[in-house]
């Protein structure tokens, strides 16, 4: 059994202090959706955070937590990941995912909290992850994703936790950098297999997107 080494700040906000809490209209939509049924499968690709676990399980759902950047660490360029154990360049990154990554049966996931993780993956790998997400999500299911603004090439991955049905606690975690910029058009192309997208622009110029499978 091998576990990926944790960077010092993985899973906790940078600096160790409490992260600022702010309202998220995209998450509000996700909350309304999650409150409409129970017994669903929710996936958090940002890792396990107690407040998110409490919120999701409090809605009556199961939460699968996995830090996607740690799981795929060995497939990603070291310079991109900062403290993570990557060792490949973008061109060398394989398009195949490890067998244990997002290994859900087709159409079995009702909601996914993707945060900004896709922006830190090489292009081929990110496309493969999106294809896998499309396969495992149930039709009508919702995905929440975030994208850093085009000029924010030095942005670090976000450490996002659910504060309540309307608010997220957002800090930064790790020293990775976004691999490429996304604008509205490229985000639409990225999720072209999905049914619909709804964009919310935050005060920090972060694009929050609700994607419906």
């Amino acid at each position: 059994m091998s576990f990926p080494p944790l960077p010092r700040s993985a899973g906790s906000p940078a600096g160790g202090g409490p992260s600022p809490t702010r309202r998220s209209h995209a998450f509000e939509q996700m909350s309304e959706y999650l409150g409409g049924f129970s017994g669903g499968q929710v996936v958090d690709l940002g890792g396990a955070h107690q407040s998110t676990i409490d919120f999701v399980t409090g809605c009556g759902h199961r939460l699968y937590a996995e830090n996607l950047l740690l799981t795929l660490g060995s497939l990603i360029d070291n310079s991109v990941l900062g403290g993570l154990p990557g060792n490949r360049t973008d061109d060398e990154s394989p398009a195949a995912l490890p067998a244990d990554c997002l290994a859900f049966p087709p159409s079995s996931v009702d909601a996914m909290l993707c945060w900004d993780r896709l922006q830190f993956l090489p292009e081929k790998l990110a496309s493969t992850v999106v294809d896998r997400i499309h396969r495992i999500m149930a039709p009508g299911g919702l995905l929440l994703a975030m994208f850093h603004p085009e000029q924010a090439s030095a942005a670090a991955p976000l450490c996002c936790r659910v504060a309540d049905a309307r608010h997220l606690q957002i800090g930064t975690a790790g020293a990775a950098r976004p691999l490429r910029p996304f604008n509205t058009r490229s985000i639409e192309r990225f999720f072209h297999k999905f049914e619909s997208l709804k964009f919310y622009l935050t005060r920090e110029n972060l694009q929050e997107v609700i994607v419906r499978r």
């Binding site: 059994m1 899973g11 890792g47 396990a48 199961r62 937590a65 996995e66 830090n67």
Partner: protein
């Protein structure tokens, strides 16, 4: 470490629980009716329905666990089910599913798996007396299941953790 249970001077009795030490590697199932601390390596399932299992900082467990409380400081690969709480402490590493009334995962723990909460059982209300009891009526499935669980916890207990195939 000081919070770990300790043995009394009397070798035949254990005051607060059992300890699998750092140098021990065990393959096999463990069932019992006392608290257990694993600081060594165990490949196999653990069942302590009424007690607490602690995986110490150097403990490594490959297998399923069912206990009243589970606290992980070390490494676990397998599903954890607790009737009360599961705590995954800072720097612990767990790959597997959690089921508990109160699952707690501290920051800087590595966790990959499903988390599901078990609803606390509501105190039993006396069933309203039926107007006319049907002859040969069966108790409800829920009542039978609840009774069965507590009964097995009481009666099957007795034995201290059973360890099999000790390797050295």
């Amino acid at each position: 470490m000081s919070t770990y249970p300790t043995r009394t001077g009397d070798l035949g009795s254990v005051r607060a629980g059992a300890l699998i030490g750092k140098s021990l590697e065990i393959t096999g199932e463990i069932r019992g009716a006392e608290d257990l601390v694993i600081d060594g390596k165990l490949k196999g399932d653990v069942e302590l329905p009424e007690h607490r299992l602690t995986i110490g900082p150097s403990g490594v467990l490959h297998g399923k666990v069912r206990a009243r409380e589970i606290v992980v400081y070390g490494t676990v690969q397998g599903n954890l089910e607790a009737s009360e709480r599961v705590e995954i402490k800072k720097h612990a590493k767990v790959v597997g599913d959690l089921r508990a009334q109160r699952p707690v995962i501290e920051d800087e723990a590595y966790f990959k798996g499903n988390v599901e909460t078990i609803r606390a059982e509501a105190p039993k209300q006396p069933a309203p007396a039926p107007a006319q009891a049907a002859p040969g009526a069966q108790p409800s499935v829920a009542a039978a299941a609840a009774g069965g669980t507590s009964a097995s916890g009481q009666s099957s207990g007795a034995a201290a953790p059973r360890q099999e195939n000790r390797k050295g």
